[in-house]
Assembly symmetry: C2
Homo-oligomer: 187 residues x 2
């Protein structure tokens, strides 16, 4: 088996999620994953630092895409629009891994320490988005509010998408933003 055979990483992720569903996350070992993917443990560790990273290896890509989209937005755009637009740009990345996203969400939901890791990931994403807004000259509290509210909309919209097999992620984001606007109009 080639050392960097294309698809090995995706196969490792697919069999890991299969095993997490069959045996539970805690009971699955790196050895189990490697064995079912027909690679050595050493090969597993070329792609992932540990078992948990199978589920979180997309986080850095997601965050980079959001930060770059915030930086690239037209200068005259309102902060909340910049953030909403930035989260919309990651929809194709997630739509392309829909099956993975759904199985990943199921695995995370069953394990408190994975839920914490996911929650902290979203907070880190919010902090990065706020910094990217400040770099555009958006003052606080608008930068922090727009970024954290954007993360809330992303998370709520994502949860809806991942539990509704017919949904479209960009539409889920739009609906959630509209729901947020309707809520705050009642203030």
């Amino acid at each position: 088996m080639g050392r960097w055979q294309p698809g090995t990483k995706q196969r490792l992720q697919a069999v890991a999620l299969e095993l997490f569903r069959e045996r539970g996350y805690e009971a699955t070992t790196v050895g189990d994953i490697a064995s079912r993917a027909q690679v050595t443990e050493r090969t597993f560790y070329r792609y992932f630092a540990d078992k948990r990273e199978v589920l979180f290896d997309g986080s850095a890509t997601l965050q980079r895409q959001v930060v770059e989209a915030i930086a690239a937005a037209p200068a005259d755009r309102a902060a909340i629009d910049v953030v909403a637009g930035a989260f919309a740009t990651v929809a194709p990345f997630l739509e392309a891994r829909r099956d993975f996203a759904g199985r990943r969400a199921n695995a995370i939901a069953t394990n408190p320490s994975l839920r914490e890791r996911e929650q902290l990931k979203m907070i880190t994403l919010g902090i990065a988005a706020a910094d990217a807004l400040r770099a555009r000259g958006v003052p606080d509290p608008a930068a922090a509010l727009a970024a954290e509210t954007g993360v809330t909309v992303f998370r709520v919209g994502f949860d809806r998408w991942v539990t509704d097999p017919t949904g479209d992620l960009a539409a889920c984001f739009r609906d959630t933003l509209a729901a947020l606007k309707a809520l705050t109009l009642q203030l």
Copy 2:
């Protein structure tokens, strides 16, 4: 020294924060705290499970007050107003411990694992607030959005209050809510 002498807990918290500032959080031991407060370590452990809990012992009270205020709000009130009102009810609790809140925020800001603990506390608070809204019959996504947005406003308003010695917490919450409303109107 009496076993449950009034004020012992507050004195332990005050000297702990003093020591965290002088030596750093990591370098301070429970023995150091007990010794400066002139009690035994055993007495320390009557009040706090560990050193970290000196900083987080108010979390349960805060969450209970928020959840109770959500449950007690008039039935016809809008979800976002219910949450905003619930967070406003905890302002007096926090105003009464303003010095503690400021020193506590400084201690947390210097330590990544304390920051994580604080972030997870806020997420737990948001989950509890969303559940309290659902118990009132607020459907999703409004329940999740109103609760998480409320936590964002609470956190941003709190940060402003804790760094501005002249500020009033209730006013910080109101200003932050107004800033959020102004932002979402641009959607």
